[in-house]
């Protein structure tokens, strides 16, 4: 049985017919002019109706995604007048907010540098975007590669808008981070002689992405989580931060946590706070599906912004070129770029390629949207979705039978469940929201503009410029998680003790909202998305 209905199979025949030709075909890379034009025509960031200027806060007047502006223009969940700031429940040196790869790394390093650490997270420890990463981690560890080349690829991929000191830190530390992970016992893919296996990602001029099968993020996350437990670092689960607390000098001095199950709030005083709350996929910018985990709701951006930290590049969202478009049950789920990195091609309804598959993600996604929307060369599913083919059979043809099974067992397995054999049949794909390129602006030590507040990972901005390359986020969360963890521990040791605790920044923000004529609607941060059906919600009368 094939998982594809007949009308789609006709196009698969055409794809099979062009395979031999496509194996020889070389599609040149786009020129800078062609790139600019393609993005402007087809990238969702350029849809005028998708964004609007935010009316309050440090980035007042700048355009960002509507869905994010809705939250930034929201009132806080807490009435500052009802919170008793005298009653401090916990007192620590470093509070880490977020239990993904960035947060756990920061907690380990802060602990290593002598700090008393508490890590609090919204779901279970490790329920995060990190655990979902498939492709792997970019680092220039090969003899034919160098940090210099990694720098060049990263800044070009970011459209030259990245903060240079951050790119410098990223590529410099990247091989050190791979060694660190290896020493913690992460099981990297290796050649028989022990050398690390590396793959291409779009926009990387060398094979540079180190993988652990197609479960790289799972492997890093479970190893780091295990180490956190071994080090007896304290963890609170299902306890999201709903507001930061400052002191009377405007320095960050702690946070208010919500116990999601009992509804009780607790106050943690900390000499330094590290935000590592990840991305925004669950806001569904431009109504796109997302690859992100359930908790990716921009909380860190909202609470940091309200406390006065400026955001960078929040008008640049990454849509991953290859989200699943069939079967329906998998809609929007990630189909890893490593498939293209190992030779899979993008093919339209006629069996033709239309882009060099190793262009950066912003361009590749735009090209798919152009193929489907403007050129009407997409493949339509019975439910009305459209997409293009990803010809996965080429991986075994190029790399020898068994390569797909060896490197992409997860993909093979998941599609087999729906009657699709990716050794022979292609996968239908369409872009899906994947990554928040920008975030809270940081420096090379992970410091934000607020004293005592650090940020690391997807919540931070500047490292990736306007578009991130494949493999560059995992390296980002470990490089800056390590830097922020160390810097926060040192800061906590040296900084003068916090003054009296205050939520005046929330009061000020509320006043600003009122003055801008913004009524009190939905409160933020969002914490959890609501996928219940509207008919149920309407009848929650109480």
């Amino acid at each position: 049985m094939s998982g594809y209905p007949n009308e789609m199979r006709a196009s698969i025949k055409r794809l099979e017919a062009t395979r031999a030709f496509r194996l020889q075909q070389d599609i040149p890379r786009l020129t800078p002019e062609q790139k600019a034009q393609l993005l402007e025509q087809c990238h969702p960031d350029f849809r005028p109706e998708g964004m609007r200027p935010v009316r309050v806060g440090p980035n007042k007047g700048q355009r960002m995604q509507n869905e994010l502006v809705d939250l930034l223009e929201g009132y806080g969940r807490l009435d500052p007048d009802r919170v008793d700031l005298q009653r401090v429940d916990r007192d620590v040196d470093v509070l880490v907010v977020g239990g993904g790869g960035g947060g756990v790394t920061a907690a380990l390093l802060a602990h290593e540098h002598g700090a008393r650490v508490l890590l609090t997270t919204k779901l279970r420890l490790g329920d995060a975007n990190t655990i979902m990463a498939e492709g792997g981690i970019a680092a220039a560890t090969q003899p034919n590669d160098s940090p210099y080349r990694h720098y060049l690829d990263t800044i070009g991929g970011g459209r030259f808008q990245n903060k240079r000191e951050l790119v410098h830190a990223l590529v410099h530390d990247a091989p050190l981070v791979v060694e660190w992970l290896k020493d913690l016992g992460a099981m990297f893919d290796t050649h028989p002689n022990g050398d690390l296996v590396v793959s291409f990602a779009g926009g990387q001029c060398r094979r540079r992405v180190h993988s652990c099968k197609d479960l790289s993020g799972l492997e890093f996350m479970r190893v780091l989580r295990d180490e956190l437990y071994n080090k007896r670092i304290e963890v609170l689960e299902f306890s999201p931060v709903v507001e930061l607390v400052l002191d009377d000098h405007g320095r960050c001095a702690g946070a208010i946590l919500l116990n999601l199950e009992t509804g009780e709030h607790t106050l943690v005083r900390a000499r330094a706070v590290i935000l590592a709350t990840g991305g925004i996929g669950r806001l569904h910018p431009n109504q796109f599906p997302t690859t992100n985990h359930y908790g990716a709701t921009a909380d860190g951006l909202v609470i940091a912004y309200r406390a006065g930290a400026p955001l960078l590049h929040m008008d640049a969202i990454q849509y991953h070129p290859t989200g699943a478009a069939w079967p329906e049950q998998m809609l929007g789920q990630l189909i890893t770029e490593a498939l293209r990195g190992n030779g899979a091609q993008l093919v339209n309804v006629d069996g033709d390629r239309f882009i060099n598959e190793l262009e950066t993600r912003d361009l590749t996604s735009s090209a798919i949207i152009r193929e489907v929307r403007d050129r009407k060369k997409g493949i339509r599913t019975p439910t009305g979705m459209e997409g293009v083919w990803l010809d996965t059979a080429l991986i075994d043809i190029r790399g020898g039978a068994g390569k797909l099974d060896r490197m992409f067992a997860g993909i093979v397995h998941r599609f087999k469940e729906y009657g699709i054999d990716v050794h022979k049949e292609p996968i239908l794909v369409f872009p899906t929201q994947h990554y928040q390129n920008g975030g809270v602006e940081i420096d090379a030590l992970g410091r934000t503009s607020i004293m005592g507040l650090f940020a690391a990972g997807e919540v931070s901005g500047g490292v990736q410029g306007r578009n991130r390359l494949g493999g560059n986020s995992l390296v980002d969360i470990f490089v800056f998680g390590r830097r922020a963890g160390k810097a926060a521990a040192e800061y906590a040791r040296e900084a003068a003790p916090a003054g009296s605790l205050s939520l005046d920044h929330v009061r000020r923000y509320h006043r600003e909202l009122a003055e801008a004529g913004i009524p009190k609607g939905k409160l933020s941060p969002m914490l959890l998305p609501d996928y219940t059906r509207p008919e149920v919600r309407e009848r929650r009368y109480s």
Binding site: A186, F200, C205, G295, L528, Y531, T532
Partner: protein, 226 residues
């Protein structure tokens, strides 16, 4: 297209939900805003272990809520949490592999060979085999056999020997990756170059370049062949 509704029982309560949904989406459709039991929504994190029964079958079935389609009249509940035993250790201090394993997890010797774990594993792993390999000291094989484990807890929930196979496997993989596998020379070399400052000049130069010059070398850079 009119949706066909089918009955399911969530923690004993009857709901009618559209055919074809996963258990997770059916819970949401019915009106549950999930707090526990929902993480990645893509089969990676193991947060959504679910147990259920279907009519006419005495057997307890298990699956991941985000991956398992609903069937009519299924009786289901998610497992919000499983209290698992995890040994604490320092990989820089451990001794011989099997001795350490038995010291940390003496209960592995109590594996009854009943194979219940294999029947419940949503990743189609055979914990019985990786446990046996670990006990034999064949850590490379145990590491390989257990690699796809998402630590969902189902095998431990059902194990009559009271093992926590996934925590055993995690220890074994870390031990193997850190202490049995060699560290590649190319990695050691690159790390030495970086800590020795050999790349600092090249990075300082590129960081100081004006944007036009940077754009030029970016466009002209050479690509390794696919």
């Amino acid at each position: 297209m009119a949706e066909t509704l089918i009955p399911i029982y969530i923690m004993g309560k009857r709901y009618e939900v559209p055919e074809g949904l996963t258990i997770m989406k059916a819970l949401e459709w019915a009106g549950y805003q999930l707090i526990r039991g929902c993480g990645c929504r893509g089969g990676f994190c193991g947060a959504c272990a679910t147990v259920y029964r279907v009519p006419g079958d005495y057997r307890l079935k298990v699956g991941l809520a985000c991956q398992t389609p609903i069937v009519p009249d299924m009786y289901l509940t998610e497992l919000p949490f499983f209290p698992a035993n995890k040994a604490l250790y320092d990989l820089d201090q451990v001794g011989d592999r099997v001795d350490t394993l038995l010291e940390l997890y003496p209960e592995v010797a109590r594996c009854l060979g009943c194979n219940t774990c294999t029947k419940v594993c949503p990743q189609k792993l055979k914990p019985i085999d990786y446990i046996a390999a670990a006990l034999r000291g064949d850590f490379p094989r145990a590491a390989d056999l257990s690699f796809d484990c998402i630590m969902c807890g189902l095998c431990a929930a059902r194990c009559p020997g009271e093992l926590v196979p996934y925590n055993v496997a995690l220890f074994v993989r870390r031990y193997y990756s850190k202490l049995i596998r060699i560290k590649p020379q190319h990695l050691k070399d690159r790390v030495a170059e970086i800590t020795g400052g050999q790349h600092d000049q090249a990075l300082a130069d590129i960081a100081a370049m004006d944007e036009e010059a940077l754009k030029k070398i970016y466009v002209e850079r050479d690509f390794e062949k696919l």
